[in-house]
């Protein structure tokens, strides 16, 4: 069956390739040529929206909280699969409840046989975590396949958290310095504000979706950072180019033209990344599901929006182009 699907797909791609090489396909324009949207007008809407969204995200972080995974919180995570028949979660809960391990969470994970067990960090240091796992193993017996067992002690979890936060800050700083060298400081600052906005919104999303916040999430955040900047840099590059070419064009118009002329690229790239992430989200397996979901939100929903509606208009407020020649007044006789 699978072989046939693969063969069918291969044939389809070969045919499509031949058709496109021969030029038998009509030209497809996702974005019409020479768009002239007035993006700058949206900043009166987009800035308040982003400000409110960011405040909500921060509020969520403090009220709803982030679901810290064992990487940062310590504790034990077991992914088990019953060998015979579906797992009886209620029964498992009672059994594990009698062990006195404090907070034990059980959750169906994928199929009816799969259960994810989370055990909070045990008091008593690193060795106590191992004792807890031994107890759980002894209780669950032999009718179970341990697909994944992760135990993170207090020493490692606090280090990982420190490393994660340090890493995020280091990345932001590194990118800031790079942009500062390549562009002017206003661009670096604008990109940075846009960036932090992305991270804040994504963390808000993770809070709502109750996605486990662990090392993988840091990886997702850093990637979002990278790609959102990728978009921003493409637009900034164009802005810089136009700034050199048109010495007298007013800033809003110049920014509009920059965004419009890169719009087609932004959207096409957006689609390809979405397609790739879509494949990861649907077929990449449970292990990276939350990673893909976070990336989908950060790269696809937030990243591109930020580049167009936040990062670019910000330059006006940061004073880019204020030292430029005044636009020529229409000459009157």
């Amino acid at each position: 069956m699978t072989t046939w699907i693969v063969i069918a797909l291969a044939v389809f791609i070969v045919v499509l390739t031949i058709v496109s090489i021969m030029g038998w396909l009509p030209s497809m324009r996702i974005v019409p040529d020479d768009t002239t949207f007035d993006f700058m007008r949206f900043r009166r809407i987009s800035f308040p929206i982003s400000a409110i969204a960011s405040i909500i995200a921060i509020a969520l972080y403090f009220t709803h909280g982030l679901n810290f995974g064992i990487d940062f919180k310590g504790g034990t995570l077991l992914e088990i699969q019953t060998k015979s028949g579906p797992a009886d979660i209620a029964d498992l809960r009672t059994k594990l409840g009698t062990l006195g391990l404090g907070d034990v969470q059980l959750q169906q994970f994928g199929g009816p046989n799969d259960v994810l067990i989370r055990i909070a960090e045990q008091p008593g240091g690193d060795a106590a975590q191992q004792v807890a796992v031994q107890k759980v193993r002894a209780t669950l017996g032999n009718d179970i396949d341990y697909r994944r067992v992760e135990v993170v002690g207090p020493r490692v979890s606090s280090e990982l958290l420190a490393f994660g936060v340090l890493g995020l800050m280091l990345a932001i700083l590194g990118i800031l310095i790079y942009l500062w060298f390549r562009f002017e400081w206003q661009f670096a600052l604008g990109a940075m504000i846009a960036n932090i906005h992305d991270i804040v919104l994504t963390i808000g999303f993770m809070s709502i979706a109750q996605i486990d916040f662990d090392l993988t999430s840091i990886a997702a955040l850093l990637t979002i950072l990278g790609y959102s900047l990728n978009d921003t840099v493409v637009i900034y590059d164009r802005i810089r180019e136009l700034l050199r070419r048109y010495k007298k064009m007013p800033m809003p118009e110049l920014l509009n033209q920059s965004i419009n002329s890169t719009l087609s690229r932004s959207i096409i790239t957006h689609v390809t990344v979405t397609l790739a992430l879509f494949a990861l989200l649907l077929f990449g397996g449970k292990a990276i599901h939350s990673f893909s979901a976070t990336m989908m939100f950060g790269v696809v929903l937030v990243g591109t929006y930020t580049s167009i509606f936040i990062a670019a208009p910000l330059l006006i407020y940061l004073g880019v182009g204020t030292t430029r020649d005044a636009p020529e007044k229409p000459s009157r006789p």
Binding site: G153, N230, G284
Partner: protein, 532 residues
């Protein structure tokens, strides 16, 4: 931009080809690859999350090391003062120091002797100027020996070094493939054992200190006294290893220790058929054991492992042959493990597992399948989309992306890098992003065409302008990947690796491969219009 000298073109094709070629060993079974020359054997390593296995991070108990070091200094002080026939009192470990009181008249004689205990750190070659102990005269006959942190760290370092060797011996006995055992930081050891079904045995084998001692049982103490915890100062109460943890009173003096063992093998007792471990002593061990057993016939002695009494048999007759057996209600597995532990030797200090990550082989298989499926679906979607959007140029882009991905695998193989599930995600993402460089170039060409340039000049300008942007936009992502590589471990680091390499190959293909393809097409077709 569109002109390539023949040499340059050849160099580009050659480089891309060679790098792609490096990925070839991955497509052959490991057995076949093993027969190839060494330089051709480099291949991808599947991460523990894909092939299943155990990742254990162990920490040497630095408090135990410190305590042991201080006790050792205390014993040295006792020996030195006794040898010098100097009276002393109040010898004890206090915090980070060892204190001893000598008579004022003896102080002048005692101080130089005690100073001899302090050695330069790092042996004769030590250049740090630090010493293993600082001897200070606190006045009133009180002498303090302080162990500086550097000396303790040095000791921890040695402990880790020895532990690594011992763990290697132990893990190799399990017969697993390519375990990785390495130091991490000052006091940590990383153990990664791929393809392990059940980590329990591994943990049992690594986590045990396996300090084995033969000591006498103190029979002068009544059960009531044991209950009250009143035992003579040269004895201590130890628990039995078996389930009803029976207390034993054991003399502190060690007759023979595990360090004197030369061999230990699991076996079965000839009479009872119970699993046992038989052992052999070296010469000095044999002598000590012979003397002890001769002196204590009909007395019980205890086999103590990690401060638990495994068994306490009565000595029936002197054992002079230098070998014996331990029977302690073992299962076959336990006897096996104990033999491994005794052969490999005792750890210099206890190790604690501070991080453990196990992936069963089932989940690993599922992850590989999921990763493959996601890669295929992602690639097909992107390839089809590019063909529909850019037609002929979409085909060019797809060729470039295919070469790009092949090169990623080539470089990963060349580095013997570890491929993890997030790593596969990184490659899928790279496919999505790699076409971005083509999109940037093509959109620029479209723009240049619209502004009225001729096809060739538009293509040329498109490349020139877009390549600068490609560079800038990729470097930011590369910085993020580099940071991630630095802070991440395991699967996350695998993601950083593929992401970072993906960016390098993307920039390379955009600057060379794509440009070469389009340039060749232009030369061949001399197009009047660009079908883009």
């Amino acid at each position: 931009m569109l002109y390539f000298t023949r040499w340059k073109a050849l160099a580009i094709i050659f480089t891309a080809f060679i790098v792609c070629l490096c990925a070839v060993p991955n497509f052959f079974p490991e057995k076949t690859v093993k027969t190839w020359p060494k330089w051709a054997q480099r291949h991808l390593v599947l991460g523990l999350d894909l092939q299943g296995g155990s990742h254990l991070l162990l920490a040497v108990d630095s408090n135990a090391v410190k305590k042991e070091k201080l006790e050792q200094v205390r014993d040295d002080v006792r020996r030195v003062l006794r040898d010098a026939k100097l009276g002393y009192s109040g010898l004890a470990v206090r915090g980070d120091t060892v204190e001893v009181r000598v008579k004022d008249t003896d102080l002048a004689a005692a101080l130089p002797k005690l100073r001899e205990l302090s050695q330069p750190l790092g042996g004769l070659l030590g250049t740090s100027g630090q010493r293993t102990a600082e001897v200070t005269d606190a006045g009133g006959g009180l002498v303090r020996l302080t162990i500086p942190p550097a000396a303790i760290n040095d000791r921890i370092r040695q402990s880790v070094e020895q532990s690594i060797q011992i763990i290697e011996r132990r893990v190799n006995e399990l017969g697993t493939v390519e375990p990785l055992i390495q130091r991490q930081g000052l006091d940590r050891i990383l153990v990664q054992v791929p393809g392990l079904q059940d980590p329990t045995q591994l943990k049992g084998i690594i986590g045990k200190t396996a300090k084995m001692e033969f000591r006498m049982v103190d029979t002068s103490v009544s059960p009531e006294q044991i209950g009250q915890g009143r035992v003579p100062p040269d004895s201590e109460i130890l628990q039995g290893a078996e389930a009803p943890k029976q207390p034993y009173v054991i003399k502190k003096q060690v007759l023979v220790s595990g360090g004197d063992l030369t061999d230990a093998q699991p076996g079965f007792d000839q009479r009872s058929g119970q699993p046992i471990v038989s052992f052999k002593f070296n010469t000095s061990g044999s002598r000590k054991f012979a003397v002890a057993t001769t002196e204590n016939v009909k007395q019980p002695f205890a086999i103590v492992l990690d401060n638990e009494v495994i068994s306490a048999p009565v000595i029936q007759e002197p054992i002079t042959g230098g070998s014996g057996q331990i029977s302690g209600n073992f299962t076959v597995q336990q006897a096996n493990d104990l033999a491994i532990l005794l052969r490999a030797g005792a750890l210099p200090a206890p190790l604690t597992i501070i991080e453990e990550r196990n992936v069963g082989p089932g989940l690993g298989q599922d992850s590989i399948a999921a990763g493959e499926l996601a890669s295929y679906v992602g690639s097909v979607l992107v390839v089809v989309f590019m063909l529909l959007t850019y037609r002929l140029f979409g085909f060019f882009a797809n060729v470039a992306v295919a070469i790009n991905v092949a090169m990623i695998f080539g470089i990963l193989s060349l580095l013997n890098a570890t491929l993890t599930l997030p790593g596969i995600a990184g490659i899928v993402l790279t496919v999505g992003i790699a076409v971005d460089s083509n999109v940037l170039i093509y959109e620029r060409i479209r723009e240049e065409l619209r502004s009225g340039r001729t096809p060739i000049s538009a293509i040329d300008a498109g490349f020139t302008r877009a390549l600068a942007t490609i560079m800038d936009s990729n470097i930011t992502t590369f910085i993020a990947a580099a940071v991630l590589f630095y802070i991440g471990t395991g699967p996350v680091r695998g993601f950083a690796v593929t992401l970072g390499i993906g960016i390098i190959t993307t920039v390379f293909t955009a600057f060379t491969v794509t440009r070469l393809i389009v340039a060749t097409w232009v030369r061949w077709k001399r197009p009047q219009a660009v079908p883009i």
